[in-house]
């Protein structure tokens, strides 16, 4: 295998997600640099998470009930983000939609990390037949168009937030399995692991004390760079009608439902979309910051 062939198995090869691994080089330079910038970005991520958690308290109105005049534009003192076609407050709806998007994205990434991580750890540590079996299975998943399969899974399970999370998680873990397995394989041949094995350390302790700590940083970096991807895929599925049923506030679905009003009242479909943009932007910058801080790369 040449170096170029290696690319097909690297992080860039995630089937239909943008390779955010390289975002660092593309990111416009911030006016202040280095560690301070990274920590500021992480504070921003924490703030978004806090807003997501507190959304029900922060929302000024009931998100599913009409509370004002129809089609109030952005900038109104009572409704800062306006109201929609039946007079619901868009700020309240967006806050609760943001909560759903952000928290479910974190859950999906966590599931992917744990399931994929375990599979990768098992494959990498066991080697031989187990490795081959697990990794061929993983490759099968990776060779199918993941978002399309997620659409089919979500459609088969029926609408609902839990089902969407399941659908995306099913296609999401193989990516982590690949990364973790690669890391473990390179660790297994390192002297400290060999020494531990010579000292008679059992397989469970070997994995827990000597392999896992080496894998965690790169797995965490991968996961944090991935949150933005999940936010975007979730929004697409929601847009296609594969999220919660009608009155529930959800970012993709709210845009899809108000699309016919676009030319008359642009803000109604645009605001949920802009919220998705903000989430994915924050997630990507946060992923970069985590990578910079953990890998010491500048």
């Amino acid at each position: 295998m040449t170096a170029t062939a290696e690319v097909t198995t690297g992080p860039e090869s995630r089937p239909d997600r943008v390779g955010h691994e390289r975002v660092g080089r593309l990111r416009p330079r911030l006016p202040f640099g280095g560690r301070t910038a990274d920590l500021a970005v992480l504070a921003l991520v924490a703030a978004v998470t806090l807003v997501a958690l507190l959304a029900p308290v922060l929302a000024p109105y009931d998100p599913v009930q009409p509370v004002g005049r129809l089609h109030v534009p952005v900038g109104d003192p009572q409704h800062p983000l306006g109201t929609d076609g039946i007079g619901r407050d868009l700020l309240s709806r967006t806050l609760l939609g943001l909560r759903t998007s952000w928290l479910t994205a974190l859950v999906v990434v966590a599931i992917g990390l744990v399931v994929g991580g375990l599979v990768g750890l098992a494959a990498g540590a066991a080697g031989g037949f187990v490795d081959a079996l697990l990794m061929r299975t993983t490759d099968l998943f990776l060779a199918l168009p993941s978002t399309l399969v997620a659409v089919a899974v979500a459609a088969a399970l029926g609408p609902g937030l839990l089902n969407t999370v399941i659908a995306i998680s099913i296609v999401w873990w193989p990516f982590y399995a690949r990364i973790v397995r690669g890391e473990v394989r390179s660790l297994v041949s390192r002297p400290h692991v060999e020494a531990a094995r010579m000292a008679g350390v059992g397989p469970v302790r070997l994995v827990r004390r000597h392999l896992l700590p080496g894998v965690v940083p790169s797995a965490v970096i991968t996961a944090s760079l991935d949150v933005g991807n999940v936010v975007l895929v979730m929004a697409s599925l929601s847009f296609l009608g594969l999220g919660q049923p009608a009155p529930a506030p959800e970012l993709g679905a709210d845009t899809a439902r108000s699309l016919p009003e676009l030319l008359a009242h642009w803000w109604i479909p645009a605001i949920p979309g802009i919220a998705v943009l903000v989430l994915s932007l924050v997630a990507n910058l946060g992923g970069d910051a985590v990578r910079n801080l953990l890998s010491g790369r500048r």
């Binding site: 659409v151 089919a152 932007l281």
Partner: protein, 332 residues
Amino acid sequence: MIRVRFLAGRLAALVALVGVLTIVLFALQEISGADPVAATLGPNASPEAVAAERARLGLDAPAFERYLHYVGGLLIGDMGTSFRTRRPVSNDIATYLPATVELVSLAFVVALVLAVAFAVLSVLRVRGAGVVRAALFLGSTAPTFLLGIFGLVVFYQQLGWLPGSGRTSASEPAGPTGLLVLDGLLTGDVGLSVDALEHLLLPAVVLAVSPALAIGRVLRSSLLTTLETDHVRTARAKGLTERAIVTRHVLRNSVNAALSMTGLQLGFMFAGVLVVENVFSWPGLGSYLSASIPVADFPAVAGVTFVLGVVYIVANTAVDVLQTAADPRIAL
């Protein structure tokens, strides 16, 4: 010899993957609990009629037999009957596929052009590359439907440069291929081709932004790697201009990594097109799919997934083969 074995291996992998796809879809069909009999006969059918219909469709057979039946059907183009349209899913797909093919094809070309332009410009450090970089970064972070909305408001509503919905301003003309740009050219109706292209442009560009950035990034980083190799240093020492070095000595040697990214981005485009079609009222598979989802029309969803999935698998096999053409060492 090696080459034949390589191709045979790729082909076997392709068949195996399509097989896996059918297993996945069959399993989902089972899980979904979608009942074709209830859908065709309605809730008031007599138990006898239901039993007869179940027997006719072979629904009482064991799962493995039903799976074989399903695959056998797929081989002759039978994907079941849509619960919503009451027509065979394969007929529906045949109706909507050309619109999607036309859109994805143009978007693909646009993505490649943008990717190469982005990579080459930023490697050559052309003035303004930083602005393009920031714009693309923002564009790739945005959800596809927001880009579509932005395009509609700016280029259709405000500027009035481009049409905002549908494939053509004329009533849907029936051409030999169903690809309107091509049909216009074949039948000598240039007006139709131009009109269809105008309608295509906005959705195609929206669909192309994110894949373009992904491909462009990979191309850019492999360009930068190639620029540090010995033969490029030799070219520089000969006094060639930077532009000549990039276009003549670097681009082909860097194309490989970008090629595999391109194949993978196709999957992204197939998912993206489902969303884009809904924004632009594009009468393709995406609109068909999103009409099928709310009424739990699983045969339709499975049909669309199968067709796009197979195209994706075939395209990636083609990319693998192309890669050996660009770099023959891979097949060894």
